[in-house]
């Protein structure tokens, strides 16, 4: 196979599939989408599924198949989690939809990535926008969970559920890259790569490239080293400080972690909730801590300053460390 996308040495781009046949996994979805595209007409689409399973890639393939060389003029990509509010989204859609599509396709395509980052109110507004431009635009939306997309939008879309990529699918892609980049990946190194990337193909390829920057001979240890350096938010250390009774240490560590990796309070509390069960405290205290964590998560939504609620939660962990609840 020939690598078509060249020039930029970012492997997630360089090796992004550009045809239906190149895609790994999601075969059922591809079959159905392919038939829609061949009819030169698509409805609104909703791609739901975990990160790194091919949602953006499939959207790009669709527009390339539809518009050929001229795909860039007929395609608008927006990321809902980055745009500052629905008004920005609407304005951009409006500007883009104003002109007609070219060639024999009567519509343009708007890809709205991470649509579940929009609030319910924003989605209602978006639904109006979809209706207004329905004659000139098709929306492809992606989300992690379709349950976070309001029903009126879901009902206007054909919903496709992307599954986590299987190990053999990721292996196929990684082997292809390894061959092109002349890498030597050990068997157990691939196992580790698959494990730490949790079925997320983008993450697997990024990790591979970061590791290959050290040496083309990719070993197990190197993958472990690179991925552990990149581990986000080490909540465990924060909790260990708190359990040991060092509140100030825990708090400082928490703030540093949040700032360093730009992690939000809600992300932190999710990690805390998972980490509770690995702590060295009595089981009934773990239950109590879970209750406190849930309470803190709820209060975070009501309150205005996430860090205040997180500190209140850390204080509960200090008590738990003393065997109290």
């Amino acid at each position: 196979m020939i690598v078509k996308m060249s020039g930029v040495n970012i492997w997630t781009e360089k090796y992004r599939p550009t045809t239906f046949d190149e895609m790994v996994g999601q075969q059922e979805i591809i079959k159905r989408v392919k038939s829609l595209v061949q009819a030169l007409n698509i409805p609104h689409l909703l791609f739901a599924g975990p990160a790194g399973t091919g949602k953006s890639t499939l959207a790009l393939i669709i527009v390339k198949e539809l518009f050929g060389e001229k795909w860039k003029e007929n395609y608008l990509e927006l990321n809902a989690s980055d745009e500052r509010g629905i008004d920005v989204v609407r304005q951009k859609v409006k500007d883009f939809a104003r002109t007609k599509a070219i060639e024999n396709i009567p519509f343009k395509v708007i890809f709205l990535d991470e649509a579940d980052a929009l609030t319910k109110e924003a989605q209602q507004a978006l639904r109006r926008t979809m209706e207004n431009y329905t004659s000139t635009c098709r929306f492809i939306m992606s989300c992690n969970y379709s349950s976070r997309i309001i029903d009126p939008i879901q009902s206007r879309c054909v919903v496709f559920r992307f599954k986590l990529l299987e190990k053999k699918d990721i292996k196929k892609r990684i082997d292809f890259i390894a061959q092109n980049e002349k890498l030597n990946i050990r068997e157990e190194a691939f196992d580790t790569l698959y494990e730490v990337s949790e079925g997320d193909c983008r993450r697997a390829i990024n990790l591979l490239q970061a590791t290959a920057a050290i040496s083309p001979d990719v070993t197990n240890d190197m993958i472990t080293m690179v991925s552990s350096a990149a581990k986000p938010a080490d909540v465990r250390v924060v909790l260990d400080y708190a359990i040991a009774g060092d509140f100030i240490g825990a708090r400082d560590k928490l703030l540093d972690t949040m700032l360093k990796d730009s992690v939000s309070g809600t992300d932190i509390i999710k990690s805390i909730q998972k980490e509770i069960w690995n702590l060295q405290v009595e089981p009934h205290i773990k239950v109590k801590l879970t209750e406190k964590t849930g309470e803190a998560e709820f209060r975070m939504i009501e309150g205005s300053d996430e860090f205040v609620q997180l500190q209140a939660l850390l204080a509960s962990f200090v008590l738990a460390g003393r065997g109290e609840d």
């Binding site: 781009e13 970061a210 990149a230 509140f247 703030l255 300053d305 205040v308 500190q311 850390l314 008590l319």
Partner: protein, 387 residues
Amino acid sequence: MSLSEKYRAKRYSEILHQDQAVADIQKFLREFPKKKALILYGPAGTGKTSLAHAAAKENDLEVLELNSSDLRNRLKLEETLRPATQQYSLFKKGKLLLMDEVDGVTGTDIGGIPELVKLIHSTAFPIIMTCNDVWQSKLSPVRAKSKLVEMKALDLGTIISLLLKISEQEGFNKSPQFLKQIAIKSQGDLRAAINDLESYGRLSGEDIDLNDKRVISQSIFNVLRRVFKERQPFLDLYDTTDESLDEILLWIEENIPKEYKNEALARAYYALGNADVFRGRIYKNQHWRFLVYQNAFQSAGISFAKDAPLDGFTKYERPKRILKIWLNNQKIAKKKTIAKKYARMVHCSTKRALRDFTVLTPILKQESVQQKLQLSDEEVAYISSLK
């Protein structure tokens, strides 16, 4: 002319005990336009305005003063400033824009802050601002564009010796003991001390009413001391201080672990959490009545978190979190712009790119990738500085 005007420092040599600030301001003017604005901050009466004027004099600059309402009146601002900031060839003398007490910008004048930022961007002359509290959130856009110079409260000795000098020159004939009392009362505010001296100066006696405290509001430290040490239903404690409830919340947050341990610690943070929940409801629904709850939780709630009153002296600290966040934002500003460019290239969100930044670093270190992403020199430098 009042004494405090008469004895206002006019040259660097007359500025007392602020050597660092003098050096900083001189460096700022020398290197202009490397940084275009400077903020002098510190307690009242430490010589901020005097220093700004002295700097103008030492550098032969003409001072152009602005106040906060000028900012709001866009038309007037443009009229007075645009010619002054841009066509400096018309004037023989250089100029220095002085904006006194920027933290006094309140209410509708706050709309002038973006104007001020624009002005800093476009000015052809150095801008000096003064304020007491530079860490207020409303000043953050200005802070980001300015060099910050702190002026410290003056020590007792400095104030006494100046009072002695003035008392002698004015023929007041006061004893050093009396002057010392005035100096103590001033709490580091030189202007206040000179004003007091003026009011007592021509009287014959040396009785000084120490209860007649200057109407300075209670310092935040006193308020904290009471709420942490005593155990009382302090519902109107915070009325006596200038700080806003939100500001006080940050101070309490910072200092709880210095006073409370274990159960008291947990109870205090829970109370603070309650205060924040009500604050969130105020923000979201504009339901200002809820302020009474926020106040109750962060006053009485904190006070009663302990089982008994506490003794001893505790050194409270200024809230560090806002400063830390600000510093961090400065630090990761480049990281953000890089992540944004990268995200656009690879069809993912900027947030995701930020989260994966460590793994992406070796990829971003490649020259070809940097060119493709059109990274600026500063962004390239940032990437190179990473491990």
